[in-house]
């Protein structure tokens, strides 16, 4: 059975990918920023704060003691989710601003390496060991979120590009391995 190998590089000029990526990055930044806005609105006595918290409720337990305190109230998501959202938004913004220029994408392995500490942190209290405080939990989640954002940036770029291989230099993961395997 023949195996796929990397093809020659192609240009990304003229594609709709970058505006789409910028739009997605902007929405992700808004979504991440909203987690900080909710407690501020609560503190100011604005009812919209509670409604804004509802937006984040399906994807987070929102336990106050597992969330960072912003302006005297808990952030709208827990510290881990905050790290994932902030990292994801940062990864998408980096994808929109930097990856187009540098042409360097993350390796698939990095995502696994970044997610592993999250699993360990999740397992610690369940094994009877003391869990981490909120700030370390946020910091642990940042790399995983950032890498997921970078990969998502590549996916969005590919989705909105009319060219066959819009991000040729992203091809550093399994494709390269297959090529190497072919010798």
């Amino acid at each position: 059975m023949s195996r796929p190998v990397a093809t020659e590089e192609t240009s990304i000029s003229g594609s709709r990918a970058r505006p789409a990526l910028v739009a997605v990055a902007f929405m992700a930044a808004l979504f991440a920023g909203g987690t900080f806005v909710a407690p501020v609105l609560d503190g100011a006595g604005v009812r919209w704060g509670k409604l804004l918290r509802l937006v984040y409720a399906p994807a987070c337990h929102q336990l106050p003691h597992r969330s960072l305190s912003i302006g005297g109230g808990p952030q709208a998501v827990c510290a881990r989710c905050a790290g994932l959202y902030l990292g994801g938004a940062a990864g998408l913004v980096a994808g929109a601003l930097l990856l187009y220029r540098s042409g360097r994408g993350p390796r698939a392995l990095w995502l696994g390496v970044a997610v592993a500490p999250l699993i360990v942190e999740w397992a610690l209290p369940r094994l009877g060991l003391p869990g981490l405080a909120n700030v370390p939990r946020l910091l642990l989640a940042l790399p995983a979120g950032t890498l997921a954002g970078l990969f998502l940036a590549e996916g969005v770029t590919s989705l909105f590009s009319s060219e066959p291989y819009p991000r040729e230099t992203f091809a550093r993961g399994p494709s390269r391995m297959l090529e190497d395997a072919d010798g």
């Binding site: 998502l152 066959p164 991000r167």
Partner: protein, 166 residues
Amino acid sequence: MDKPAILKPTLIGGAVFGLLGAVPILNFINCACCALIMGAGFLASYLYSVECGKAGLAFRAGEGAKLGIVAGLFYAVVTSILQGLLAIAMGQPDLSQMLDQMESGGAPAEWIDMLEPVLEVMSGPMGVVIGFGFILILAVLFSTVGGLIGGAVFKLEAKPPSAGGI
């Protein structure tokens, strides 16, 4: 050569994670950015990438979106059916019990007054429809994200035609 069918990888991705999403306690994993739902799209992308690899075909990162959407649909259907069956088997608290739980949990009286009509609707047949619609929207959204991430991680490029062979 035709692309492999997306039915099998998306069905497996959606069903596996839909099953996990319906299991009590395990479904708390969804509290981390809907990780189980994203897993459905991610797994579908991986399985499709394997299929494409076997056929020597390209798999673009952007194709993960389509896989994620379909896997999200399967996730919503599987997890809703299983949750419904679990609810029938284990029994659901009735409206007054839910309100009592909220009151004992320290929810403000104005919230309870506000939520009572909502819970009344949600505990009836209309609630099943609304609940499924809600899961469907969430599943399609987050599974698409998972599919795109999986597409970028597991992408493959087609083997160029060999110079001397048929």
